[in-house]
């Protein structure tokens, strides 16, 4: 399969990249790892006239602490997320999630920025970023702004990004040491999108949940932050009755499509099952 023709641009700075996207207009697309865009181009579902490759922009790489946050450059690959000692120590749900994305070859190239910015409801990182209350740094021709992950996703492939804007970094408030976490993903095979998946991050003290946040993947047009379910669990001992109530609240906000992964009612139920399992593992890790 041969994509349509395009002109290739390889800027070396964010400023240059944003300038190119601004001047080339609607027919230009930014390309990060390309493992969503290139397959679309090969199918001619996307035919940009210009590709602005972000791979040469050094400022978009790297993982570092910045005060109470951790900053991850948008062009950091999933492979680098898994290999990062800092992330494995401070935000281990990220490597747990990245390990469940696609396959080794795709993880060497696919980026965390592309995963969150593309707006594909099947991508795994967006729900995790909502769960972690991350903020995206976005740069366009009018400068930089910050957008909360929980306000970023508007519909399938529709996000808060303006034309010509790119996500340059992801800022995540470092979760408390000793927090519990889990990402549970039901998929049919390696490389598949989730039938349903759930992300949980919680803290506990004295046998009670002191904070809890839940994200859900691929059970609606956008990733979901299950605020009500999180509230129900906060203050509880994660007893079976409370978990059941929270799972029902999480299932209630889903609206999956019926597709080859199963009918809508099944996928909603699986979101509940994934959440129950994720809560169980997060509880064990939080040292209840």
């Amino acid at each position: 399969m041969i994509p349509g023709s395009f002109a290739y641009h390889r800027p070396s700075s964010v400023k240059e990249a944003v300038g190119l996207l601004g001047s080339l207009g609607d027919d230009a697309r930014a390309i990060a790892g390309g493992h969503s865009l290139i397959p679309m181009m090969k199918l001619r579902l996307a035919s940009p006239s210009h590709l602005v490759d972000l791979v040469g922009v050094a400022d978009l790489k790297g993982i570092r602490e910045d005060g109470k946050d951790i900053l991850i450059g948008a062009m950091t690959t999933q492979h680098e997320v898994i290999a990062s000692d800092l992330l494995t120590k401070k935000i281990p749900i990220l490597s747990e999630t990245a390990t469940l994305i696609a396959d080794p070859q795709v993880r060497y190239v696919g980026t965390i920025g592309g995963n969150v910015a593309n707006g594909d409801p099947g991508n795994d990182m967006p729900a995790v970023m909502m769960c972690l209350n991350a903020t995206y740094h976005a740069v366009g021709k009018s400068g930089e702004r910050r957008i909360a992950a929980r306000e970023f996703y508007q519909g399938a492939y529709f996000t808060a990004l303006e034309p010509g804007e790119i996500v340059t970094a992801i800022r995540i408030p470092t979760p408390a040491a000793g927090h519990g976490y889990a990402y549970e993903k039901l998929k049919r095979k390696v490389g598949d999108y989730a039938t349903a998946a759930a992300a949980v991050v919680l803290t506990a003290s004295g046998g009670k949940v002191t904070s809890c946040s839940i994200g859900l993947t691929n059970v609606a047009e956008t990733p979901l932050w299950a605020e009500e379910a999180s509230k129900i669990l906060t203050g509880s001992a994660l007893d079976a009755a409370t978990v059941k109530k929270a799972v029902a609240a999480a299932e209630a906000i889903t609206s999956p499509a019926s597709d080859s992964r199963g009918p809508a009612a099944y996928r909603t139920k699986m979101a509940g099952v994934m959440l129950t399992r994720a809560l169980g593992r997060a509880k064990a890790r939080a040292g209840f």
Partner: protein, 166 residues
Amino acid sequence: MAKSQVSMTVNDKKVEGLVEPRMLLIHFLREQLHLTGPHIGCDTSHCGACTVDLDGKSVKSCTMFAVQVNGADIRTIEGMAAADGTLHALQEGFREMHGLQCGFCTPGMIVRAYRLLQENKDPTEDEIRFGISGNLCRCTGYQNIVKAIQYAAAKISGVPFQEAAE
């Protein structure tokens, strides 16, 4: 569309070419360099038959453009054996352990396993299966591919290969 000059190192040799930006790396390797070891299987970045080693990463050459990898260092199955024809430990392992039947997936499997063993000299069976999960084989059921990689890992480490009991 204007063509771009690209140069890269492929199997330790400097190569150059003139490509349209839309030319996929797999087409550059096969059609311009006549390296037909990397195969086009699914053409949708699932099967891994087109896997090549690029700057220390295993990548699917059907899902990148040649122009993107200007300056890269690439290894394909053609660059695995020594110059005198001595097979690489992985190639020997696939032969000794019957790690292939039709052979279509084999170039991608071997090149992927090469990077896996660079990163992990003594992988467990689970680590091997996870490490090759981006490469599909429709013949073997993977059993002998895993054995072939275990054979190569042992050979590279200089220890005798012990086949696990069935």
